[in-house]
């Protein structure tokens, strides 16, 4: 039962990812994140040190080479290879990456929901 459930879940996630991949966001369109403040998000990204692992346009010294570059992240269709890139999913990933993909290299940074929303709002501006 459990293995079948896991397989179904995996198939569902793959299907969602594939569907998301089929519908690219229109070129050069920002992703609006309701209730998030991009300026606060940019400041938080600097404080938390996201740039130690990621290249992030517009953030000083964010030139990390562990995770993928976040260039054009607002236009990307899939997050972490497993979630459709919607505002809610992006917030979920930023706040609890270890719950989304257990054991992956991105640590839970102890962000509260508003902080994750603000960071998502900034990433949503990276077209």
């Amino acid at each position: 039962m459990r293995p079948r459930g896991l397989a179904l879940l995996a198939a569902g996630v793959a299907a969602a990812g594939a569907l998301a991949a089929c519908e690219p966001r229109p070129q050069n369109q920002a992703m609006a994140v309701a209730g998030g403040d991009p300026d606060r998000g940019a400041a938080l990204i600097g404080q938390v040190g996201c740039g130690a692992c990621h290249q992030i346009p517009g953030v000083t010294a964010a030139a990390g080479e562990v995770g993928p570059p976040l260039t054009h992240i607002a236009q990307r269709t899939v997050i972490a290879g497993v979630l459709a890139n919607t505002p809610d999913n992006l917030i979920r990933w930023i706040q609890t990456p270890q719950a989304v993909v257990p054991g992956n290299a991105m640590p839970d940074m102890g962000l509260n929901p508003q902080q994750a929303r603000d960071i998502a709002a900034y990433l949503g501006t990276l077209q």
């Binding site: 896991l6 879940l9 995996a10 198939a11 569902g12 996630v13 793959a14 990812g17 594939a18 998301a20 991949a21 690219p24 966001r25 080479e65 562990v66 995770g67 993928p68 570059p69 260039t71 054009h72 236009q75 990307r76 269709t77 899939v78 972490a80 290879g81 497993v82 993909v101 054991g103 992956n104 290299a105 991105m106």
Partner: protein, 125 residues
Amino acid sequence: MRAPRRLALTGWGLLLAASLAACGSQEPTPAGLGDPLQGRFIAMREACGSCHAIPGLQQADGLAGPPLTGFARRARIAGMLANTPDNLVRWLRSPQVVVPGNAMPDLRLTDKEARDVAAYLETLR
């Protein structure tokens, strides 16, 4: 009489093997990787660029997976594996085994094909 001579021969043999191994480690392409030109061809054939931005590859501007810009310097593959040649080949051959349910499909590459693609990715600096 015989034993010392055999020991000396063994010693020379080890020395020779060690120096050969040292020569091997100076090769520009990491051991175990394939032909980067062939890998580039396979990357085009498999349309890797429909999901990944890949600098220098025609029409490789996909937005599903991460950009592969500077991939050779990337520390991690798929957030799960250290970016070593063997791990890269493993990921290219069976991404669904490494991270079940992720968006990257198993492309049924042979070991040789995966090694060629890995060699190509290692040229992206």
